[in-house]
């Protein structure tokens, strides 16, 4: 076992293609799927880029997801304990207490029941786009509102509050806004969800928040979990819809294939998840004891960053990994993570993506970019990768 022969690298962030991970990152994977990583705060840990090693770390309880180990590979973020209800930064059994409450809400069957509502919401956005007429920004009119309205439906946000909810969840995600404006929206939203939990507790309805409010969670925990559902369910899906549309418009042959063979949509969504890997700086874990991983010795206390984007392009698992092929079997991608923390809302996300892409493709056969591809700005340094705006015409 060696640990001294590798000079720590910074997490590579320079992309040469808007849809592919930085070449430096994938080159690293081919040479050393487990490498030393230099974190911005000075700590030295590990960077995992191979698919097998990524799965090994994410499914091994010796690698903890606790907030205390949270160390961003790019940008800021300080290791600190999870806030109440934010169970993605907890380990079992603490994590299990929360996760169990939510898994029942996102079963394959439950999300199928929500599908007609997703169809309706999407159709509403398509109708609004038609009414506005081209050109318009697809992010603002389609990618952002769909997941936001779906979350309203899921949580049980009253109809009269939808506009408030949408406005503030959008401001929270807008990286161009001043920080204090985003913080203000965050605070307003947290207060709104706390109040909603109290209301649901008094007068339960048939929705997720009512069931969470009726559980053994405290008000603060329930509101924290609701905030987590919003954070995890809005930006992610919105980024996939915006960047995914850009990807399709940049690959007309693939788009044509999907248009002619709509039955490919389920696999196409998996391939887009694999190809785009929008959690661009990966997932972080902390070793709770010494662990040997592919010949490297990871010491107790060291941080490990799992680069999902590089693992999802691992040629060992995906032949010709840099080719977009909407008809391939991409089922084993790690776009939703892996292990006990794998995205709890993934089945809902799949329904949203399938419905949204299917309706968009069939409603606008002439859909095209309204600017030169080079003018499309991406969120290069945000942990969730995507396009800021996507001006389209048809």
């Amino acid at each position: 076992m060696t640990r001294t022969d590798l000079k720590p690298v910074r997490f590579p962030t320079e992309r040469t293609c808007p849809f592919s991970p930085p070449p430096e990152l994938t080159e690293l994977r081919d040479e050393h799927p487990v490498h030393r990583l230099a974190y911005p705060d000075g700590a030295v840990g590990w960077l995992v880029t191979g698919h097998a090693a990524a799965r090994a770390v994410l499914s091994d309880p010796r690698f903890s997801a606790r907030g205390e180990h949270r160390r961003a590979a790019v940008g800021g973020g300080t290791p600190e304990p999870a806030r109440p209800g934010v169970f993605i930064f907890m380990d079992p059994p603490e994590h299990t207490r929360f996760r169990k409450l939510f898994t029942g809400e996102f079963t394959v069957r439950r999300t199928r029941r929500i599908e007609p509502e997703v169809e309706k919401i999407t159709a509403g956005r398509i109708a609004a786009m038609r009414e506005m007429g081209p050109p318009l920004d697809l992010v603002r009119e389609f990618a952002l509102p769909i997941p936001s309205l779906v979350i309203c439906e899921l949580l049980g946000v009253p109809y009269e509050d939808h506009e408030f909810f949408q406005r503030h969840s959008e401001i929270m995600l807008d990286h161009e806004r001043a920080m204090d404006e985003a913080v203000e929206s965050y605070t307003l939203m947290a207060e709104f969800l706390s109040e909603l939990v109290r209301r649901k507790r008094g007068k339960p309805q048939d929705d997720l928040l009512s069931r969470v409010a009726a559980s053994d969670l405290t008000d603060i925990e329930a509101a924290g979990s609701a905030m987590l559902m919003l954070a995890a369910g809005h930006e992610t899906t919105a980024k996939m819809l915006g960047l995914g549309t850009y990807l399709l418009l940049s690959n007309p042959d693939q788009l044509e294939m999907l248009r002619n063979r709509p039955e490919l949509i389920n696999g196409a969504v998996e391939e887009m998840m694999r190809y785009l890997s929008i959690v661009q700086f990966g997932l972080v874990r902390g070793a709770t004891e010494d662990v040997e991983l592919e010949g490297r010795l990871i010491r107790e206390g060291e941080a490990v960053t799992v680069a999902l984007s590089a693992a999802n392009r691992d040629p060992g698992l995906f032949p010709d990994p840099d080719a977009l092929d909407l008809s391939r079997d991409a089922g084993r991608h790690l776009g939703f993570g892996y292990g006990v923390h794998q995205c709890v809302g993934q089945q809902l996300a799949r329904v949203e993506m399938r419905v949204a892409f299917r309706q968009l493709i069939s409603a606008f056969p002439g859909l095209r970019l309204d600017v030169a591809p080079g003018e499309i700005e991406t969120t290069r340094l945000a942990s969730m990768y995507g396009v800021r705006r996507l001006p389209v015409s048809w």
């Binding site: 939510f102 079963t107 069957r109």
Partner: protein, 73 residues
């Protein structure tokens, strides 16, 4: 082939119920795996093996799984 599931390991991702609904379902209460058919027909073996590979918490195991291990990368 005999299929076994460990509900204490299951994290309710739903990958099995999505991939092979004839063999796996999810509990309405907590989303954990429900085994519908411990001895699936041979025509379902491939997709059951795919469920084993997809499961993020290794909650599904197969008996007589030499075939599976041979094919694992």
């Amino acid at each position: 082939m005999r299929v076994d599931v460990d509900r204490t390991k299951c994290c309710g991702s739903g990958m099995c119920a999505l991939t092979e609904p004839q063999v796996f379902d999810q509990s309405e209460q907590d989303g954990t795996v429900v085994l519908l058919c411990p001895h699936p027909l041979e025509e379902l073996w491939d997709s059951v093996e795919e469920c084993v590979r997809l499961c993020p918490s290794q909650a599904i195991s197969l008996d007589g799984s030499a075939l599976l291990t041979d094919r694992m990368p």
